[in-house]
């Protein structure tokens, strides 16, 4: 520092970075080249992973389009199967069966799953909540064939015949733990301050959970639920021992009913060319259905999970 008189004209170096600031900047600058390289490398790895993750889907879609598209026509949607060996017919029975059973499973499973998820999130520390959470995780890892045998033992064997209701119950049993966990996650995202705001206005815990919390998390819960529906719609194993399958259109829930995965399973194993073609077509329609549900799930969350902010 120079004398007072010179401070009046203010030496320019006073506004310049200090020695220490300059040397730190230099030190940082020296690392930049390496860091940029590492950075681009890591970004490359991540981009590659992201692409690889979607490669199977792209291949499946392309292959299904190639193998199945030619058999997807109006008859496929409105006709029932022809006897083996005869050309033509469709999967009307299976489409109806899938819609009915997934619908019934959702009616049975959604309320339970969402209720359980809400409980798990709103009573985080409770002993019961911890037990339920753990069991839900175990259930989520359960092979679906086991769920099928379980439903058979409980709902088919005592009654004496296969039924769509048993199929729906098996699907619902698979659905519940999945919906429980996704609901819990979505509900956990609701900020505590929002709960406290309701409690401070004299709302009970239950009312807060049912009105404020559930309302805030609705979009997320709907998304999660739709994703679960999409997964369930493609399940084969739980239906093998329960709904069994049916070559005719049935609307009777106490009787065997067809479903798209079942029909595909049967057709794909058959020796008949036309059935095998229809199996491909069925796979294409099923995956399109799942895609549509996933798209619906995306639209459900669009800009609606906005909690505001600055």
């Amino acid at each position: 520092m120079s004398g007072r008189a010179e401070v009046m004209v203010a030496p320019p170096e006073n506004s310049r970075p200090s020695q220490r600031q300059r040397s730190t900047a230099t030190r940082t600058a020296k690392t930049l080249r390496r860091r940029r390289l590492v950075n681009s490398f890591m970004v490359g790895v991540l981009v590659l992973s992201a692409v690889l993750a979607t490669v199977p889907l792209v291949f499946i879609l392309l292959y299904l389009l190639k193998a199945g598209l030619s058999s997807v026509n109006l008859a496929f949607f409105i006709k029932t199967p022809k006897p083996p060996g005869e050309v033509g017919g469709g999967m009307y029975n299976a489409i109806v069966g899938t819609l009915m059973m997934v619908g019934m499973a959702s009616v049975l499973g959604m309320p339970v799953g969402i209720g359980a998820g809400l409980y798990l999130s709103e009573r985080k520390g409770a002993k019961l909540a911890n037990v339920v959470r753990f069991l839900a995780d175990v259930l989520n890892g359960l092979p679906s064939i086991v769920m099928g045998i379980f439903a058979w033992q409980l709902l088919v064997k005592p009654i004496g015949h296969f039924s769509a209701l048993a199929g729906a119950a098996a699907l619902a049993a698979m659905m519940i733990p999945m919906v429980t966990r996704t609901t819990e996650e979505m509900v956990s995202l609701v900020p505590t301050s929002l709960r406290e705001a309701a409690l401070a206005l004299g709302y009970s815990r239950a009312r807060t959970a049912l009105t404020v919390v559930l309302r805030t998390a609705t979009a997320g819960i709907v998304t999660g639920a739709l994703v679960v529906v999409a997964r369930i719609a493609g399940e084969t194993a739980p239906l093998l021992f329960t709904a069994l399958g049916n070559q005719f259109t049935s609307y009777n829930v106490s009787q065997p009913m067809s479903a798209m995965p079942l029909q595909i399973y049967i057709y794909a194993q058959s020796p008949y060319d036309d059935w095998i073609k229809q199996a491909w077509a069925g796979s294409l329609v099923l995956i399109t259905l799942v895609l549509l549900i996933s798209l619906a799930a995306r639209f459900a969350t669009r800009g609606r999970f906005d909690l505001g902010g600055d």
Partner: protein, 272 residues
């Protein structure tokens, strides 16, 4: 009557050790900013002087935080934002092609409204910046940690528990830790976004004293909703309103004899 959105006139030569006419360390030139379709800043022209404290005031949503976050290019991490005009740091456009944001952010440190210490030890929080910016010598890092904590007036309170979690500190201590963390990077500019809004008066006072202390070595830019705070600590104050820089003047002048009616209305508490 001046034009409502007229150009901002620099009043009075700046106080402090600056030659009149010497460019500030930070200069915004015709800087506009958009979040998607919504324009948040309109043609801001502003010179921030080195080794001084500049306060940005204005009602919520006036763009002061947006402008602050433009200085270290943190805004561009938000999708759908864009800008026109330029911001110069030490004469170089920070948006120029080839500018490394990592290097820029080392030179322009930031402290946020809500303290955001990493869930690591106090020591590791401070050492985070120097380590990533190429300081490998443990002894040197030790020294940086101590000096940063001393400069943030936190050393005496935490020297015996450097290895403990930072999140166990009080709010005021955590905020000073965040300042120390920024200081450990030896920034030339320290940007603070309402650093005291969640702190009690005593913690606030400590931080204000700290800022006055810090301006000897670096340039401080602080966004604040607390007008008294702006009046107490800053050398110059910029008043923003609906995305425009309305008035920029030495603090005492802006508070006692503002040129703009809206500035006067705001600083006297008639709106905002």
């Amino acid at each position: 009557m001046t034009d409502v959105i007229g150009p901002v006139t620099m009043t009075e030569p700046p106080t402090g050790p600056m030659i009149p006419g010497t460019p500030g360390i930070l200069q915004a030139r015709n800087y506009s900013f958009w979040y998607g379709e919504k324009q948040a800043l309109f043609e801001v022209d502003l010179d921030i002087h080195a080794r001084s404290i500049t306060a940005f005031i204005g009602p919520s949503g006036c763009g002061k935080s947006t402008f602050l976050r433009s200085i270290n290019r943190l805004n561009e991490t938000i999708l759908g934002t864009r800008h026109t005009g330029e911001i110069l740091l030490d004469g170089a456009d920070i948006y120029e092609k080839g500018t490394d944001v990592v290097a820029l952010r080392q030179r322009a440190g930031m402290v946020f409204q809500r303290w955001n210490c990493f869930p690591k030890s106090i020591y590791d929080n401070i050492a985070f910046g120097p380590r990533i910016n190429g300081e490998t010598n443990r002894g040197v890092v030790d020294g940086i940690v101590e000096s940063a904590l001393r400069r943030a007036a936190l050393w005496d309170e935490v020297k015996d528990r450097l290895r403990q979690s930072a999140t166990g500190l009080s709010g005021g201590q955590q905020q000073r830790l965040c300042i120390a963390r920024a200081l450990a990077n030896d920034p030339e500019v320290l940007l603070l976004d309402e650093p005291c809004s969640a702190l009690d008066p005593i913690a606030t006072q400590r931080i204000e004293e700290l800022l006055v202390e810090l301006k000897r070595e670096l340039t401080v830019v602080i966004v604040t909703h607390n007008l008294q705070q702006a009046a107490r600590v800053s050398d110059r104050t910029a008043f923003f309103f609906v995305g425009r820089l309305i008035e920029y003047a030495p603090t005492d002048q802006l508070f006692t004899s503002p040129r703009e009616e809206r500035t006067e209305a705001y600083v006297t508490g008639r709106f905002g």
